[in-house]
């Protein structure tokens, strides 16, 4: 199957502009073109776009995605380097999850504090608005 740029955008969740941008910066191979010169994305193209969007979600900078992308064209010899990029990213994602978890705890603590304030106010029969300075 092949897909118009609009369809590829819809399926990948990227914008049409972003798809063209990714092509310009060599993050994706130029897709095939139809008779009229319009981009025709293959299922493989979409698969790669799907993986790219995952890497992007992990916060990988475009520079490193480009490196990974270019290594794919260097065959199996580049597998070690590609794996190490993924392993590094795995570490950074795990760290980030831990960091966010810690922030979540702080947010919960603060929210709990607001809950307590609310309960206290209700206990006195006052309203939140009533105790404005």
């Amino acid at each position: 199957m092949s897909y118009s740029i609009a369809e590829a955008a819809r399926r990948s969740g990227l914008s049409i502009d972003t798809l063209r941008y990714y092509e310009r910066i060599k993050l994706v191979e130029p897709p095939a073109r139809d008779a009229a010169g319009r981009r025709a994305y293959s299922d493989d193209d979409l698969g790669w776009l799907g993986f790219l969007t995952k890497l992007r979600l992990t916060g990988m900078p475009i520079k490193r995605m480009r490196e990974y992308a270019s290594l794919r064209h260097h065959g199996a010899a580049s597998a070690g380097r590609r794996k190490s990029i993924l392993v590094d990213q795995r570490t950074s994602v795990a760290d980030r999850i831990a960091e966010l978890q810690a922030c979540l705890d702080i947010l919960d603590y603060k929210i709990d504090h607001y809950d307590q304030v609310e309960r206290k106010v209700l206990g006195t029969g006052a309203t939140m608005e009533g105790i404005s300075a």
Copy 2:
């Protein structure tokens, strides 16, 4: 206790420039000044900076941090709105953690794939470099 901007930067993990920037954009109250006109941060200032850095780690945009910051000056009447900002942020952090967890699974899957390729290569006595295209 009061702290020079350099000390406040060290303790908050922000840069000196960022501290002045946060002041300019009203994310922090202008700290006290010493006799020579230099900023003198209080423990309270540092506490607020600490919380701000946590909010920043959660990915909260500066706009919303500013809103939260400004609400603090509106007394208890703003507690409801402040709480709802934190609750919203809690949701977005939890979502983000789930998203990252899903990415982690994909990375693990891919890394496992590279591991298998390596093992296969080792089984044939070849090296990663030896199978370059």
